[in-house]
């Protein structure tokens, strides 16, 4: 009986397919009021007055608050990842630092009345000079986002390893580019949503929150509001996508909680899509001045990148550490002995950047793979051959990167060769040549990736965040019928981890998959865990489930030993039956053991009653997953439109627990990568407004833009009991550079440089027509 590896249907699906999912906006409680926010229309301004009279006169409005009236009573919001954070309160009192910052809040009996009331709040602003460009922000005399600091520079990290200066001095060839990874939005289909339910008589507070991990947010909430953590409960019901954007407690969410505590009534707020684009976190936004030093055969001698990370105006939990991830992943799967990497982090008058599926590593992959592609072109080496000459070879494993990461598995050249084979590389070249004769421009592009994932061992360098546990938890409780309820610390937003966890537990307990119920996302019932992010579900949460299940079986073995009058070490467990080794006729079933464990009718008090176990699993190390992508595109040189003709992904995620779920993760990641490559950009105009703040301006790929994807995989089990690596973010890393490389290949005859994404039709057209 083995569930791991089986394409079992998801436990999550029947309820959701019937329309019985339960997202925060679907919840109602008696006496609930609804919130709406007044937000800054300025990128930088002093608030000179806030007049709430119009809102208060609106029939149905229950209360209204401004930051200028209430900020003194509101707590400061800390960051998880730095000693110092810009002071931030739930509602801003005196000065706004980005468009969308909440300055006032109106509560009313229904959501539309709250919006109407908010529209009648009168705020006067005195606009201040603002700064949006990170280079300008670093230059002398730039407007200061936080004047007290005297600079917009947040900090600098400079790593020089090996001898890069020497490598560049003796290089046969140097390729240099300024490469930009634009600011994008996670855009989960469910916007943020919260329902805060206070119980003034007992001092308890329950917060229903669309989030990615309730425990750490409970600790933060207790910390911020100076509350007793044991009286706080956070519940994540069904969560409609997160992708990193729901790891936080945001200002407006804290204002909702603050109001619920002030008024003593339940307060609900559901974000609009426009708000999600302005007041929800952004991501990426790095500019790299990057170069490779190469010998005459195309072997990379050194990588240099001096880059800037535009972090926006405030810190959310991970803001200051996201670009740090880029540094140590910049060499990817390539054997590069010397590096010179400098990161400058900068404040600007924009919303914060934060974690987003593949964060930090996607930027690194784009830079390394665009550079290698350009190096191949400039040296006249085939781009696949160029990569094969530089990829870490299997006989180099275990391989220690310049940054001290150790790769122990995988065959990176084989993954790339397989991608080239599946995309029909030589046939595409023939087709490309034929097409050129009739004025059509087809291109093929490759990229490889190495996904640092499975965050993160406690105490490890990768886990500097305060109040963010590296471990994951699982409690398994078996009832007298022998069926199990699994309480997982993961907090999925569509990843299907209830199913994955059930598959792991089913194999250990040797009971049917259908006899296992998995529950998650409630601090009242679930042991303290880290939640779902950073491709950690299977490799961290899965192992917590594995260890808990092993402990349950161990307990069951003791019960069976008592029942069979044998020593526990002499009890074998196979196919759901406990036997005494050597006398297989002496047996008890799982069901009999489960019943005896609770009622002790046969053995009496020979063991502690009950059949359950809890495990907290802290991973011994981070993990790595890797792969290669190939894209074939056609560029319409008349309109600039890029069409993806073919897309191949060959991935090594170690052991796959459920092929349907794993393929879906890769498909979804690639679709987001296609969006990043071709369509998506959070744009700011000169005034700092966000003209891209709707789905009619910020274009997510639809079923028409995402082509049929060809997937294949190779399996190199990780050094963990389950052999899993990680897959949640895999698709997002190599897809943007593979597509950009294909566009560059298609447009090679025109001498066009592809140094940034998204490659929207207007952008490509302008590249083709530089005048």
């Amino acid at each position: 009986m083995t569930s791991i590896g089986a394409r079992l249907p998801r436990k999550e699906d029947p309820r959701i397919l019937a329309g019985k999912g339960r997202y925060v906006d679907d919840l109602t409680v008696p006496h609930m009021v609804h919130a709406s926010f007044v937000r800054s229309p300025f990128a930088h301004a002093d608030i000179t007055s806030v007049d709430l009279a119009g809102a208060r006169e609106t029939p149905g409005v229950v209360a209204s608050y401004s930051g200028s009236e209430s900020a003194a009573g509101m707590p400061l919001i800390p960051t998880a990842a730095a000693d110092w954070a810009p002071p931030r309160t739930p509602l801003t009192g005196d000065r706004v630092l980005y468009v969308g910052e909440p300055v006032a809040m109106v509560l009313a009996s229904d959501p539309r009345t709250a919006v109407n009331g908010a529209e009648r709040v009168d705020v006067d602003y005195e606009p201040l000079p603002h700064v949006l460009d990170p280079w300008e922000a670093l230059s002398p005399g730039a407007p200061l986002v936080h004047p007290d600091r005297g600079t917009n520079k947040i900090g600098e990290i400079h790593k020089v390893i090996g001898d890069p200066d020497d490598a560049f001095a003796r290089a046969h060839h140097v390729v240099s580019r300024r490469l930009t990874v634009q600011r994008i939005s996670a855009s989960p289909m469910e916007p943020r949503a919260i329902l805060a339910v206070p119980e003034p008589s007992t001092g308890h507070l329950t917060v229903w929150l669309s989030c990615q991990g309730p425990h750490t947010l409970r600790t933060w909430l207790a910390h911020i509001f100076e509350l007793d953590e044991s009286k706080l409960r956070i519940v994540a019901p069904d969560v409609g996508g997160g992708f990193g954007s729901k790891l936080n407690l945001y200002s407006d969410e804290l204002a909702v909680i603050w109001a619920a505590l002030e008024l003593g009534v339940p307060v609900k707020w559901v974000e609009t899509r426009t708000e999600n684009f302005t007041a929800g976190v952004h991501a990426r936004d790095q500019i790299h001045d990057a170069e490779l030093a190469l010998d005459s055969r195309g072997k990379i001698l050194a990588l240099r990148s001096h880059f800037v990370g535009d972090l926006g105006a405030y810190f959310h939990f991970f803001t200051p550490v996201v670009p740090d991830l880029t540094i140590d992943t910049l060499t990817g799967n390539y054997d590069i002995p010397s590096v010179d990497i400098k990161l400058e982090k900068v404040f600007t008058n924009k919303m914060s950047i934060e974690a987003l599926r593949g964060s930090g590593r996607a930027e690194a992959t784009f830079v390394q793979e665009r550079l290698i592609e350009e190096a191949a072109r400039e040296l006249g080496i085939d781009p696949v051959e160029m990569r094969l000459r530089n990829l870490v070879a299997p006989d180099q494993l275990p391989y220690r990167t310049p940054f001290g990461l150790t790769y122990t598995g995988g065959d990176y050249p084989a993954l790339l060769e397989r991608a080239a084979e599946l995309v029909g590389y030589q046939a595409v070249r023939t087709r490309q040549a034929e097409a050129r004769k009739v004025g059509r421009h087809i291109g093929v592009g490759f990229a490889t990736y190495n996904l640092l994932c499975g965050f993160s061992p406690s105490g490890h360098d990768w886990n500097p965040m305060k109040f963010f546990p590296g471990h994951e938890s699982t409690l398994i409780r078996v009832d007298p019928q022998g069926k199990a309820v699994v309480y997982s610390g993961l907090c999925p937003q569509g990843q299907g981890s209830d199913t994955v966890v059930a598959q792991i537990v089913a194999d250990q307990l040797q009971i049917p998959f259908d006899h296992i119920t998995v529950t998650h996302g409630d601090t009242e019932t679930i042991p303290f865990g880290g939640g779902t992010h950073g491709s950690r579900g299977a490799v961290v949460g899965g192992h917590a489930a594995l260890v808990a299940a092993e402990r349950v079986v161990e307990k069951a073995r003791q019960v069976a030993a008592a029942m069979l009058e044998a020593a526990a070490q002499d009890i074998a467990y196979e196919d759901g039956v406990f036997t005494v080794v050597g006398s297989p006729e002496t047996a008890v079933s799982w069901h009999e053991v489960a019943e005896e464990a609770h009622f002790l009718k046969r053995c009496g008090p020979m063991f502690e009653p009950g059949l359950e176990a809890t495990a907290f699993y802290d991973p011994p190390d981070v993990n790595f997953a890797f792969g290669a992508n190939a894209a074939v595109v056609e560029v319409d040189t008349e309109t600039g439109k890029v069409k993806i003709l073919d897309f191949v992904s060959v991935d090594d995620y170690g052991v796959g627990i459920n092929p349907g779920i794993v393929d879906g993760q890769i498909h979804g990641g690639i679709a987001q990568g296609i969006g990043q490559a071709l369509y998506e950009q959070v744009s700011h105009d000169e005034s700092g407004q966000v003209p891209s703040a709707s789905f009619s301006a910020y274009l997510l790929p639809s079923a028409m833009e995402v082509p049929r994807l060809t997937l294949d995989n190779m399996v190199s089990p990780s050094d963990t009991p389950l052999g899993v690596r990680g897959v949640g973010e895999s698709g997002t890393l190599a897809s943007p550079p593979a597509i950009a490389n294909a566009v560059a290949d298609a447009l090679a005859p025109f001498g066009v440089r592809i140094d940034r994404t998204p490659l929207r039709p207007d952008v490509v057209w302008e590249l083709m027509h530089p005048e």
Binding site: R273, G496, D663, G668, F695, S702, A703, V706
Partner: protein
Amino acid sequence: MKVSVVVNGAGHVVDCHPSTLLVHLLREELQLTGTHVGCDTSSCGACTVILDGAAVKSCTVLAGQADGREIETVEGLGPDGRLGPLQRAFAEHFALQCGFCTSGFLMAATALLRENPEPSESEVRKALEGNLCRCTGYQHIVDAVLSDPTGSGQP
């Protein structure tokens, strides 16, 4: 104003404000919360329902415009609260992840399959163009719709 609608075969008379949108009538007055709101520009399709046989975005229909008409939502797709063939095909093909967009896709695909029982892949993709999914990359959704759930094309 009073609005009279038939939803999933059952008649309702609802007293609502003239500015009420159909999606809010469904979610808030009739507690049919399987239909979701994902944007404010009628771009995402999470709120798709079937109105007199045609897939519409219920965030761009006033409740009053639905007066006297017949509406189908995800809650009415399966017989007696069980899953219908298209819903089962979605499960078999891993066509949902977070599930927030799913009811919109189910309703858009239902309308397609009634009109065109044996669509090609490009016809499926075209019919689903008005529905956004951020999780799946669409391939498993397209596969589910192409799987001819009932053999007759009737979902």
